[in-house]
């Protein structure tokens, strides 16, 4: 494959891996917090899609990517509010509502896109990249690792911040208590519903940001159904990561790399049929599950609504 393995190409593969990984990373980090707190947030796909739509809409109208990201967060949080009210406050079934929200957002954003953008397909200008003299000029990894939009680094910083918060503050134990034995947290004076609502909204915000990244940086425009299951991958990453943000990062990078590799294999002219190549990322996750799945311990109260005093 010598001829194709140019520096630029390798660099673009690294870049591709990172670009593909960031939305899943953000979604996975968000879902992780919900799951810790005992909320199985199946609606994350819808939150992401709403984030993509709102993120693009705001970025396009205001011509500011940053406002676009805020819009994405807002979009995700809006959907998450519905989820928080219905599933955490009222205790409705998380699966039913999660699927319902995802379907609803898919329909709604496609509808809005149809009336707003389907005749013009507006696209955003190429995102600004952070140029760190010296680092960005490094061969191969330079442009992919250091030439990204600032939001990429914020996502990485979020990993560290969350890891710090989970480890060093009461946040981690409060979340775990809410997911493991909500009644224990309640009688200890903690606010079970409060922390669960917070976690759900956080998931919405992160998923929305991930969606906005997908639309604004990843694609440069909004297309209906464009998340295409990235939220579900986020759920899987969160479950595999056993509560550790760093593992979500590793997982999303591996998944992103696998996606990027499918391009590499094809561009290199591999004779393996495309469909087989495209199974690789999922097969890789299955392999991880077969090898290490038994360690993916989930919180005891995951998916169960908490009602005080009920037995």
């Amino acid at each position: 494959m010598g001829g194709l393995l140019t520096e630029a190409f390798l660099s673009s593969l690294f870049t591709g891996a990172i670009v593909a990984a960031i939305p899943m990373l953000l979604a996975g980090l968000g879902e992780q917090m919900s799951e810790k707190a005992g909320v199985l947030n199946i609606g994350i796909e819808g939150m992401m899609l709403m984030g993509a739509y709102m993120g693009f809409l705001v970025a396009f109208k205001t011509e500011s990517l940053w406002l676009g990201f805020l819009g994405g967060i807002l979009g995700g949080v809006l959907v998450a509010i519905v989820m928080a009210v219905l599933c955490v406050r009222l205790g409705l079934n998380q699966i039913v509502i999660g699927i319902g929200l995802t379907l609803g957002v898919e329909g709604l954003t496609a509808l809005l896109h149809h009336f707003q953008f389907s005749r013009t397909y507006p696209r955003l200008p190429a995102p600004e990249r952070l140029n760190i003299p010296g680092l960005t000029d490094l061969p191969v990894i330079g442009p992919s690792l250091f030439g990204r939009h600032l939001i990429v680094y914020l996502a990485l910083i979020a990993v560290a911040v969350l890891a710090y918060l989970y480890r060093r503050t009461n946040l981690g134990m409060t979340l775990r208590a809410a997911g493991e034995r909500p009644a224990a947290l309640d009688v200890a004076g903690g606010n079970v519903l409060g922390i669960r609502v917070f976690a759900t909204l956080f998931t919405g915000g992160m998923a929305g940001l991930g969606g906005a990244y997908l639309a604004n940086i990843g694609a440069g425009l909004f297309i209906p159904f464009m998340t295409g299951g990235a939220g579900f991958i986020g759920i899987v990453l969160a479950m595999l990561a056993r509560g550790r943000p760093l593992w979500v990062l590793i997982g999303s990078l591996i998944f992103g790399a696998a996606l990027s590799m499918t391009t590499a294999l094809q561009v290199a002219g591999s004779n393996i049929p495309t469909d087989v190549i495209q199974m690789l990322p999922f097969a890789a996750v299955m392999l991880v599950l077969v090898l290490f799945g038994r360690r993916a311990k989930l919180p005891s109260a995951l998916g169960a609504a908490y009602e005080r005093g009920a037995r």
């Binding site: 060093r168 503050t169 009461n170 946040l171 134990m173 409060t174 775990r176 208590a177 493991e180 034995r181 009644a183 224990a184 947290l185 309640d186 009688v187 200890a188 004076g189 903690g190 606010n191 922390i195 005080r308 005093g309 037995r311």
Partner: protein
């Protein structure tokens, strides 16, 4: 205060005063309303009528945190710790999320507690890996760390060894001396007298009587217990259940266990070379400190746990390879000590729970098809025979109180042709009356010629019922003693073996 639940008045117009400097004992049979009252005081439930006042001011405790803020700390009947968190984390649970755990401060306070109350805890251990007694200490420590004015302990001693209970009692006395009010719930009347300054008795939700400090001081333990029993059950005491039962053992060997061993691991004790034999009509007690292999032995006999070596014989028939279901059909029954998570399926109605171990068997199933009427009939019969308090056989069993669940399970094990029954802590958590009834039932089935293995941590119970007592320690049988009812001397011998002191003396017979 009044609190109603569908179909039940759990707390019926009860007025109580709790004074600082007093241990106020709440007594009452199962389902009398004690835990409900605790629930109201700890903010888990709101009363339908009546009110609460703190230091003379009306207060509303709408949530557990309101109750904690009002200075009321509660140690609940069932553990309220998060098993996957560390001890330190459980101690700080409920603090604002953005704070850092004040480790140094808590360590310092724990030092004080250690001095004052002999409470000592490994702060960084994972809670779920500690013994139940230590876990309870965490809950008590947590209550103390909060500088509460009122401390509630709901059946706090049921998990503890006699020494542990003794220590707790002393601790309570120290606490009230420092100005707290302690509310203490127990089913052990002697404890109530020894550690309590004031005793209130609940009966079917209503206040049946109260004994103040002066009154209590003027009574001996026996007098006090008599009075309490009269208040609780409306009958005279006298059935001193510690009377030694006359042996009904016959010659025939009912169950024989030879050189049985099982695999152990980090969580579960392995068994080593256990041999034991049981005659028909005999009750063999298994004594030992909780967690020394008793449960594993019961499970191995029932077929629930794989053996690494050894054999089991039932009435001369080798059943080593038989499954749980086969053993059950041959008449070997096992009453688990874990009635909620192992013995019953809380969401299923009582009727289905009565036949869970006979799924697919006639007459409840014919060709695999369920006969709901037969099952319901069977369940109603069982409810009647064992006086289960329930609205009906279709009630999900999880809604019953622990004691009533226990009766259902007991009925399930005794139905059909039982020949040998293994009881694991059959009376744990029951009220006096139910304990009595259960013990009588055990004695009676032995009298009918069934072999009984009675696992218990309660020596009184073992000494009252057993023909012989085997003592387990470290997954082995440390010795088997004839129960001659000789009281203190025997008790001392057993106690030594429980501590692993007396040397290995294998079972004979």
């Amino acid at each position: 205060m009044t609190k109603r639940f569908p179909g039940v008045v759990a707390v019926d117009n009860v007025s109580l005063k709790f004074h600082p400097g007093e241990v106020h004992v709440l007594l009452g049979e199962n389902g009398a309303g004690k835990s409900t009252l605790v629930g109201i005081l700890s903010g888990l439930q709101e009363p339908d009528e009546g009110y609460l006042s703190l230091n003379g001011e009306k207060a509303r405790l709408a949530s557990p945190s309101a109750s904690l803020d009002a200075g009321i700390s509660t140690v609940f009947q069932h553990s309220m710790l998060v098993p996957t968190l560390t001890v330190l984390e459980n101690l700080t649970l409920g603090a604002p999320w953005y704070q850092r755990p004040p480790r140094a401060q808590i360590a310092a306070r724990m030092d004080e507690l250690k001095r004052e109350f002999a409470l000592s805890l490994p702060l960084d251990a994972i809670t779920g890996e500690l013994s139940l007694g230590q876990q309870q200490q965490i809950e008590i420590a947590r209550a103390l760390l909060r500088d509460s004015k009122v401390l509630i302990l709901d059946e706090a001693t049921s998990m503890l060894t006699p020494q542990g209970a003794q220590e707790l009692g002393e601790r309570m006395q120290q606490l009230v001396k420092s100005g707290l009010a302690v509310i203490f719930i127990t089913h052990k009347l002697a404890e109530a007298y020894r550690y309590g300054n004031r005793i209130s008795v609940l009966k079917q939700g209503a206040l049946a009587g109260e004994m103040g400090p002066e009154e209590l001081k003027g009574m001996t333990e026996d007098e006090a217990v008599d009075e309490i029993v009269r208040l609780m059950f409306g009958r005279e005491a006298g059935q001193t259940s510690t009377d030694h039962r006359a042996s009904t053992a016959r010659d025939q060997i009912a169950l024989k266990v030879e050189n049985l061993s099982t695999q152990g691991d980090a969580d579960v004790m392995g068994l080593h070379d256990i041999s034991l034999s049981l005659r028909a009509g005999e009750i063999v007690g298994i004594a030992g400190i909780d967690g020394n292999g008793q449960k594993q032995l019961a499970e191995a006999m029932a077929g629930q746990r794989a053996l690494t070596s050894g054999r089991v014989e039932l009435h001369g028939e080798d059943i080593t390879g038989a499954s749980v279901a086969q053993r059950r059909r041959k008449g070997l029954r096992y009453l688990t000590d874990d009635r909620l998570s192992e013995g019953s399926v809380g969401a299923f109605p009582i009727s289905e729970n009565t036949v869970l171990k006979d799924i697919g068997q006639p007459p409840f199933w014919v060709n695999g098809i369920e006969r709901p009427n037969r099952i319901a009939e069977h369940a109603r019969e069982l409810i009647r025979t064992f006086s289960v308090r329930t609205p009906g056989e279709q009630t999900p069993i999880g809604r019953l109180s622990g004691g009533n669940i226990q009766k259902v399970l007991l009925g399930r094990e005794l139905s059909g042709d039982a020949r040998v029954v293994v009881f694991n802590k059959p009376t744990y958590g029951l009220d006096l009356q139910n304990i009595d009834a259960s013990r009588q039932r055990i004695a009676e089935i032995a009298g009918r010629g069934l072999g009984v293995v009675l696992i218990s941590t309660d020596l009184d119970e073992l000494m009252a019922l057993s023909d012989r007592i085997a003592v387990m320690e470290g997954g082995r049988i440390r010795g088997v003693v004839e129960n001659d009812g000789t009281g203190e001397a025997l008790r001392l011998r057993i106690g030594r073996m429980m501590a692993g002191e007396e040397e290995h003396k294998q079972a004979t017979a």
